[in-house]
């Protein structure tokens, strides 16, 4: 499909359901997907993004390491 046709067919379909992505439903769908502050509370912990980053820092500061290790990176897609 030519670029101009994509804009015409996708941006202007106004008679579809409430969950259909159009320019008029865009903000509502975006805001639904965006996590709330409460859902992001876990980010308040100062996570290092790898085990080794934790090891280097813990050796430097003489502190124990707390490692969260999951199938799928816990700071991303798990």
């Amino acid at each position: 499909m030519r670029p101009a046709a994509l804009f015409l067919t996708l941006a202007c379909s106004a008679t579809l359901g409430a969950q259909e992505l159009t320019e008029s439903t865009y903000e509502k769908i975006r805001d639904r997907v965006l996590p709330s502050a409460d859902e992001l509370r876990w980010t308040a912990v100062d996570w290092r993004a790898s085990f080794w980053d934790g090891v280097v820092e813990a050796q430097k500061t003489d502190k124990p390491i707390l490692l969260w290790a999951m199938n799928g990176h816990p700071l991303a897609c798990t």
Binding site: P3, R30, T43, A58, P64, I65
Partner: protein, 317 residues
Amino acid sequence: MQELAKQFVACADEVYHLQTVTGPEAELFRKVAEQGHYGGRTKPTSTRQGIYACAPNGAFLASINTTDAAAMAGMMEKALAKWKELKPEDRLMKEPPAADPVDRTRWEKLFPADGLVLKDFSRDLPREKPGADAWADAWNLDFAWFRKVEARSFLPETIVEGALHAVPRELVLRLARLHFVDNVRGQTYPWKEAEIAWAEMATVVDEVKDGRARIRFAGKTKAVAVGKWRVNGFDPNADDQKRGFEAKILGSATWDLAKERFVEFELVAAGPRWGGTQYNGRATDLEEAPMAHLLRLAGDTPAEHVAPASIWGYGWK
């Protein structure tokens, strides 16, 4: 819990990577994990996922795999008590470890610092007949990476108002195959290229002003897979299945002409999904229902440098 956490250096990582690659980081993890809650386990899987407390030299303190806050706090308290009993020579490495040893295996070494890094949120959209589903508000997060030359190719070669541009198929395929997946409730597989029915995206330049180009995106993707696979975790039965996601794409972005990078970027891909995979939590939710992805610029904290879940599918070296 957060007060307890402050007494540790907190870190997070991908366990399959740590269990399977070579290098000092993975070797140290395996030494710790084999003393933990899943040490030696092979069934139902050999995963070592969970939360571990250890000393910098790998001395094991405690571990658990739980979502229960009280149990988690108990593990952390036990670990701190054990830590206090250890002499420095029993908890620290003899020499400070190198910050990034050459033999350390990390996808993050490919991080496109001068390119485009996006957060990719996913969530189900409200349904016409909502049920009492504990997963109704589930969401997930991934990252999408584009190198500098790829980021530039979201725009037409000559950036002038009104210019229309077809985004290169390679980039739309990356989004369609590796990012527009049903990971809302858990990990899933990316799509094979042969499973992509269509993947198109276009850009129009709305305005060029004060050194910046304001653009809009529109596009559509559809992925469909049919076959025999598991959809219910450890249930060994593999039945005839189908899964798919048909998305419409809209969005906008701002390109800084001097810096040659996006300073704003937002893209929504929404539409019906159906079916499930072994670990994506859809065993009782296989019927068609709406889902959306939202991609936005990531920040620059270490936690936002995590590699995309399917980075191996990028073909990057």
